[in-house]
Symmetry: C2
Subunit: 253 residues, 2 copies
């Protein structure tokens, strides 16, 4: 067996984690047909690890929501309806709203405020340049970072955990649907609205305006709703949606 060379660079990373990452990748790339059973032995062959770590990975991915337990045993690739995707985004928005409110009510340190502000500044900088050539990859990165900081501000391990779960579905994470805008003439418009919401929520938190902070974050998440709607309407943009292969196609007249 070509274990040492082919498989692992790091020995510190367990086979289980490797299997989990690899399996998630396979699912998200659509290399495992949605709805179909995920055969353990086939995964053993494909990933080059034994059944035990594959099994662990399968359990974790089921808890994560990407797989579904088959009553008779084993797991299958989960599929999502449009409705489920919308709901997943709404859940994420609600929890981020809660995080923002908790942060506002609790009050956050000057250090945290500064790190959030500098993150927003970086985004401002990014968008200050000419229109239509915004570095989307960089934006996605900074956007994710801001959302991370916000969750951190809530200072709640339990909430962070729940949010992690909520964002585990690839299309539900904060930055997932941003790239969909890239083919839209409205992109810069939407991006500035989103960024304004970032600024507003930070201001609200600073002023301890909990209800306002919460409302803004909820609405902020709904931008993703719009982007999803756009992608569903123009199916050609679906390839910009992560995990789109798991979404059951809309039946169109």
């Amino acid at each position: 067996m070509t274990k040492t060379a082919e498989n692992g660079s790091d020995r510190s990373v367990t086979q289980t984690v490797r299997a989990q990452l690899a399996l998630r990748d396979l699912v998200l790339r659509g290399e495992l047909n949605p709805g179909e059973r995920v055969s353990e032995l086939q995964m053993v062959e494909r990933l080059g690890v034994s059944r035990t770590p594959v099994r662990s990975a399968l359990i974790r991915l089921e808890e994560e929501g990407l797989l579904e337990a088959i009553p008779s045993g084993g797991f299958s690739v989960k599929t999502f309806s449009e409705k489920e995707v919308f709901e997943a985004i709404e859940i994420r928005g609600t929890l981020e709203g809660l995080a923002a409110r908790l942060a506002a009510e609790r009050g956050v340190s000057r250090t945290e405020l500064r790190s959030a502000a500098s993150c927003l500044e970086a985004i401002d900088e990014l968008m200050r340049g000419d229109t239509a050539d915004v570095d989307l990859l960089r934006y996605v990165e900074l956007n994710a970072q801001f959302h991370e900081i916000l969750i951190g501000m809530a200072d709640s391990q339990a909430l962070a955990r729940q949010l992690e779960r909520a964002s585990a579905l690839p299309f539900a994470s904060p930055s997932a649907l941003v790239p969909v805008q890239s083919r839209s003439p409205e992109m810069n418009y939407i991006l500035s609205v989103a960024q304004d919401q970032h600024h507003c929520v930070l201001a609200a938190i600073e002023r301890r305006e909990g209800a306002r902070a919460e409302a803004i974050m909820r609405e902020h998440a709904r931008i993703a709703h719009r982007n999803l709607e756009r992608a569903l309407t123009n199916q050609r943009d679906m390839d910009l949606v992560p995990g789109s292969v798991l979404i059951k196609r809309r039946i169109r007249a």
Copy 2:
């Protein structure tokens, strides 16, 4: 080995499920010291199943939030601060609020409304009797049932899943802290307030008043906050709190 007779009544229930249930029980009853490592081999001895199902159960319980992964490997029993318990309840309330809002906005069938109403009627009946001798066990059951129905009304698998997670922590579930009231003279008062909220949220859902339904459910969950506060103040009531052994005791002057 005394497998057939001693262990399983049903053969349809897998060893993994058995192990999961048994382990959860051990953790919740405090038979495994909080913070301590959960040794796989010891559990093998104690539960009478092999390492493989024990392992699966451990992974699932970690995802559930009752165990914590130890960096060097294995799992330990998680402990919770007061703050975390409060937050867990707040998260549950927020998600239930979302469920109520979705139900209201979406509109629910007459059948669902009727089943919810009859559940509330049963609670009314229960409380119509003389004060101070309310069958709390029955109340807890009906209360849990109503919350289940409500979640069902939202008709969202994703939300149901998240709520299941949120209620997995034993002290965060809707009925968990009800028994704490049993030693309080205010019990019946609190119970009627709670029941009134049940009625109000159902009315709001029926009238499609989403914001109102959401607000009520959030506030409804905060009754649990009060009960927790009471139990934390009167430590002697902590034995009525499920999973109380996992909660780090308040440092009192």
